[in-house]
């Protein structure tokens, strides 16, 4: 597979480590009453679609960026690649508003 790195262009997926569902970015608030349950759902119940999937990949043998890769799990086609730090910042700023 080839991942179109937003900064570095096409790179062999072999340089990357895949973590899985990008919803791991959305870590729950530890102070909520049902924090244990929220963390359970956050950590264990991840998206696993047959189709488009947003997932985290780490450029371990490259620039150490975490990327959010939108990939079709049936065809392996990659539709979008973003820097995870940008995605996370956007998510955090939305949280705050």
């Amino acid at each position: 597979m080839i991942i179109e790195h937003p900064l570095l262009g096409p790179r062999d997926a072999q340089e990357f480590t895949c973590l899985g569902d990008a919803s791991l970015i959305n870590r729950p608030d530890w102070q909520e009453d049902d924090a244990v349950n929220r963390f359970y759902e956050y950590l264990y119940l991840r998206d696993n679609p047959a189709g488009e999937h947003r997932e985290l990949w780490y450029h371990e043998q490259g620039d150490r960026s975490w990327l959010v890769v939108t990939r079709n799990t049936v065809t392996h086609e990659i539709l979008r690649v973003e820097l995870a730090i940008d995605v996370a910042r956007t998510a955090r700023s939305k949280d705050r508003t």
Partner: protein, 983 residues
């Protein structure tokens, strides 16, 4: 039988004769021959035995699709079993042997199977060999295993080396027949980066095997001229002897280049083959087509081969499989063989055309609407029986029979991403469908079977791809060549009494397929698996479609309704060694050496693998005969005076930034918010699921600067985790991370005299006294007259100890200086074993304890998990199942009888309990002999262990037939109050 079937002409080099041997007999061929063509030229038709019935076989094909002519090539540790004689390029001194036969190719004992074919019908083994139960492994299976298999491995390590390589291009052209050459020319002339890959050792594909002319030149000459033109282009790379073996995601292709297989010996250090990974923006697949046979009774005799293969032998290799040849066809292409044979003066015994309306041929015995219904000649064809249109049969003498059932486009690579070809009625063949992204198919592979159409579609397809990529295709005149239509009337098999083979190698007959149908194995997948159709080394390249057609007829459905089998990589079999490349033996993975490696080697150290690192395990001294002597000495010397150990392998992560404190506090479960500058603290890192991930010490070098250490094994995973936390969880924090594991050479200096030793190394302006630099202090210092260094007062051994770090290139010098400076204290270098002993004596945990299923509670560190802050893992560590009353707790163990030993991996049982899973109380994680205590000691996890100090339990180890009574004690065997390390 003739001994010389060599003809005039051809593309072999008659000036270069080549000697070779087959089954010990010597022969001569020419450069440019394959093993099969040279053997045929020498009148040898019998080259192999089939898998199940051990039927005598000769080549069916002249290419990689060969099912029959498999040999063991080369000898000794270079033996290559199952090598297709039809693709082996002849070289001087080549040695080949037949296989799957005993005692000889001609007299094969297991050919007895052929006398009872009915017993060995499809799937017979699923229905018997079940009684008595014990007989399967003892009797039946060994017999079957010995009879099965084909060639044999040498059993010796492969002596050759293999390379891997990586190529990038705009356009990859697969196959160099007319379509491929046209495509490559278009790409080359447009200035694109083109790779042309050809499996054969010359370019041209069928142009080399046919007698057509192209632009008034013989086809092979035209191919040669294009080769010359392409070779002159800097932007084109031609890879001959290179099979593209797989189409992977996003335009990544695997290709195997054979560099030295055509040579008697390779130069040392030169690879035999290269496995290329080709990154192609676009791919034009011009893989051609493969002819398929017609099944008829006894259609497997040596001398019966594909009609097009005979043309390859005649036109390219200047050899005929026999002096008298018959042709059996259902299409016009089969008739071309007649013309070509006649042109070379080979006698045509007869032409049998299944069609009643096929073209007529002059001056040849020609049967229309006829079929071959039987053959004779056990070791080589002698005679065929023809059933004529009027139902009468006649026998015809012949030494070879060319069979053509039509051509199947080579769709293999189009299926590698699970594309499913579709049936085309007019060609009676499957055409590519659902091809991988970026791939386009041209020429015969796409069902364009005439040479002119191959040129046209090759050029056009390449042109489209080039335009997509932004290149301007130059167009240009297409070469002129034959443009004959395909006239085919599907005909798959001849009904008859005898066995009609569909899959020749695996001995799958028409009857087997019908039996599979009768027993309900009707889907293509069931058919393949039940009968083994298409599962042999040729992957059914010549068999699958016929098999499908037979099944279709049995089910009364059309072929497309019956299904299609798709092909998986690799397109042709690839040596496992080639996939491994250089990564074998000592080069399997890189070696990481510590800064003191060279010095340790000089000391005669014994090294041990710690992940990729090599670390000194102990330093034997003269007179020491057992490792324990060395380790005990190192431990005692360190605890008595001072020892030195290279601890560079621990991961070191530099953490800086305005929010570094917040960050460190959030990734460790224990509190770090108030760690003063110039202080070190032990940190416990949890995974988000609450299990311990790693531990280590983290030093605060400045307000906004920390250095975290990790265990050796987890340096990479922890760094990845921290980057995840930084980028994905807390992107608003000002934190910068970088690994400095390699940048600093770090040594533990441990023992009561460590301070005295370091006073001689650390520059005087730094006060090493206990008051000025107490336990858990850290500082940036200079050593040996100004070299910057880092000093940490931390202790893994439990002694007064320091770790000192200098830039890595000074590590070698530092260890030498430490040893020199330590002479007055009898300083001792110690290895990982002594390190391990001392940490067990002190009750520190390592990877043996931190096995990924252990919580802070299990370690007795539950109070470290701060509930007052958000840190990774704290929330889920509160789950009920991780906090129940009799949770495992870390304890120390010592033998009740001090002379007794025990082993890590033992399980704890209460005294008096039966040793069983139900009574399991926990397990031993680490064990060593403590030279200080004079007996074995261990660490382990025991249910409710903290409340069981003083209890005697049994450490049972049935695996090693050991059982020892052990007393549960505190895990801190030595200096439990920590007075030494604070001294």
């Amino acid at each position: 039988m003739s001994t010389d079937n060599r003809l005039e002409g051809g593309l072999v080099d008659r000036s270069s004769s080549v000697r070779f041997s087959f089954d010990g007999a010597s022969y001569t061929g020419f450069k440019g021959d394959t093993l099969a063509s040279a053997l045929l030229a020498n009148g040898v038709r019998l080259m192999g035995r089939s898998f199940k019935y051990h039927r005598p076989r000769g080549p069916l094909t002249a290419g990689p699709e060969e099912p029959n002519a498999l040999v063991e090539l080369r000898g000794k540790n270079r033996r290559e079993p199952n090598t297709r004689a039809t693709t082996v390029e002849l070289f001087d001194g080549l040695e080949a042997d037949s296989q799957n036969r005993w005692p000889s190719l001609k007299f094969d004992a297991l050919a007895i199977n052929d006398l009872m074919p009915s017993l060995f019908a499809a799937g017979f083994y699923y229905k018997t060999f079940m009684w008595p139960k014990a007989f399967w492994e003892k009797l039946y299976e060994p017999l079957i295993r010995r009879a099965a298999g084909l060639g044999s491995l040498s059993g010796e390590p492969d002596p050759d080396v293999y390379d891997k390589g990586f190529l990038h291009c705009d356009m990859l052209v697969i196959g160099s027949g007319p379509a491929g050459l046209a495509a490559a020319l278009a790409g080359g002339r447009a200035g694109a980066r083109v790779i042309l890959a050809e499996e054969d050792f010359i370019v041209g594909g069928r142009l080399n095997a046919e007698s057509f002319s192209v632009d008034d030149k013989p086809g092979h000459e035209w191919a040669r001229s294009v080769f010359d033109e392409l070779s002159s282009m800097a932007n084109v790379r031609i890879l001959t002897r290179t099979a593209v073996i797989g189409a992977f995601d996003h335009g990544v292709y695997g290709a195997l280049e054979r560099l030295t297989d055509h040579l008697a010996t390779a130069e040392p250090g030169k690879p035999r083959q290269v496995l290329w990974r080709i990154y192609a923006k676009r791919t034009v697949l011009c893989a051609g087509a493969t002819e398929r046979p017609i099944a008829f009774p006894n259609n497997d005799r040596p001398g019966i081969m594909l009609s097009g293969a005979i043309r390859s032998y005649v036109n390219r290799f200047a050899t005929t499989p026999g002096k008298k040849v018959a042709i059996f066809t259902n299409n016009d292409d089969g008739l071309r063989t007649v013309t070509d044979l006649k042109a070379k003066g080979v006698e045509i015994a007869a032409v049998i055309d299944t069609r009643t309306d096929g073209p007529s041929i002059d001056n040849v015995t020609h049967f229309q609407g006829a079929r071959v219904v039987d053959t004779k000649g056990r070791y080589g064809l002698q005679e065929i029986t023809v059933e004529q249109a009027n139902g009468k049969t006649c026998r015809i003498d012949c030494l070879a029979l060319g069979v053509s059932g039509g051509w199947n486009p080579n769709v293999h690579l189009t299926c590698h991403q699970r594309g499913r070809p579709v049936w085309d009625e007019s060609l009676a063949a499957f055409l590519p469908h659902g091809v991988p992204e970026g791939m386009q198919v041209a020429g015969a592979a796409n069902g364009e079977l005439s040479t002119a159409a191959a040129f046209a579609t090759g050029a056009r397809t390449a042109g489209e791809a080039l335009e997509d990529l932004g290149f301007k295709a130059t167009g240009g005149k297409l070469p002129q060549s034959e443009d004959d239509p395909v006239n085919i009337s599907p005909f798959w098999y001849v009904e008859g009494k005898g066995r009609a083979w569909v899959d020749l190698q695996n001995d799958v007959t028409v009857k087997d397929i019908k039996l599979a149908h009768q027993e309900g194995y009707r889907s293509v997948e069931h058919l393949k698996r039940y009968t083994t159709l298409g599962m042999a080394t040729d992957q059914g390249k010549t068999a699958n479609i016929t098999g499908l057609a037979v099944m279709a007829e049995a089910t009364g459905k059309s072929i497309p309704e019956t299904g299609t089998t798709i092909f998986r990589p690799p397109y042709s079999p690839v040596a496992i060694g080639a996939f491994a490349g250089r990564h074998r033996d000592m080069s399997f993975r890189p070696v990481r050496k510590t800064p003191s490696h060279k010095w340790a080697e000089e000391q005669g150290a014994v090294f041990v693998e710690a992940g990729q690192w090599l670390r000194a395990q102990w330093y034997p001294q003269s007179g020491e005969t057992h490792w324990r002597e060395s380790v005990d000495r190192e431990v005692l010397a360190t605890r008595k005076s001072v020892g030195i150990c290279d601890v560079t392998t621990l991961g070191k992560i530099d953490i800086q930034g305005a929010d570094a404190t917040r960050f460190v506090n959030a990734v460790y479960c224990n509190a770090f918010a108030k760690l003063p500058v110039n202080k070190v603290r032990y940190g416990l890192m949890l995974r988000e699921d609450g299990m311990v991930m790693d531990d280590g010490t983290t030093a605060r070098l400045a307000e906004d600067h920390y250095v975290m250490t990790t265990t050796t094994a987890n340096a990479g995973p922890v760094f990845r985790h921290l980057e995840f936390c930084r980028q994905c969880l807390w992107p608003e924090l000002d934190v910068q991370l970088i690994s400095t594991t390699e940048a600093w050479a770090q040594f533990a200096v441990a023992g009561p005299n460590s301070r005295g030793l370091l006073r001689k190394i650390v520059d005087r302006d730094f006060d090493l006294s206990n008051d000025a630099f107490p336990f858990m202090g850290c500082a940036e210092v200079t050593v040996c007259g100004g070299l910057r260094a880092r000093l940490f007062r931390i202790s893994f051994s439990g002694e007064l100890a320091y770790e000192i770090a200098v830039p890595t290139r000074y590590g070698d010098a530092l260890v030498r200086a430490l040893m020199k400076a330590g002479e007055e204290f009898d300083v001792t270098p110690y290895g990982t074993e002594a390190l391990g002993v001392m940490r067990i004596e002190k009750g520190h945990v390592t990877g043996n304890e931190l096995n990924g299923t252990i919580t802070a509670l299990n370690l007795g560190m539950e109070r470290m998990v701060s509930s007052k802050k958000d840190s990774i893992g704290t929330v889920l560590s509160r789950r009920e199942g991780m906090n129940h009353g009799d949770a495992l707790k870390l304890v120390g163990l010592r033998p009740v009888d001090a002379s007794q030993a025990f082993a890590a991996g033992s399980h704890f049982m209460k005294r008096g309990d039966e040793a069983s899973a139900a009574n399991d109380q926990g397990y031993m994680t680490s064990v060593c002999f403590s030279p200080n205590l004079g007996h074995a000691i261990g660490l382990g996890f025991l249910k409710d262990g903290a409340n069981r100090i003083g209890e005697v339990v049994r450490a049972v180890n049935p695996l090693q037939k050991q059982e020892t009574e052990v007393e549960v004690v505190s895990p801190h065997f030595i200096d439990p109050e920590g007075e030494r390390l604070r001294g």
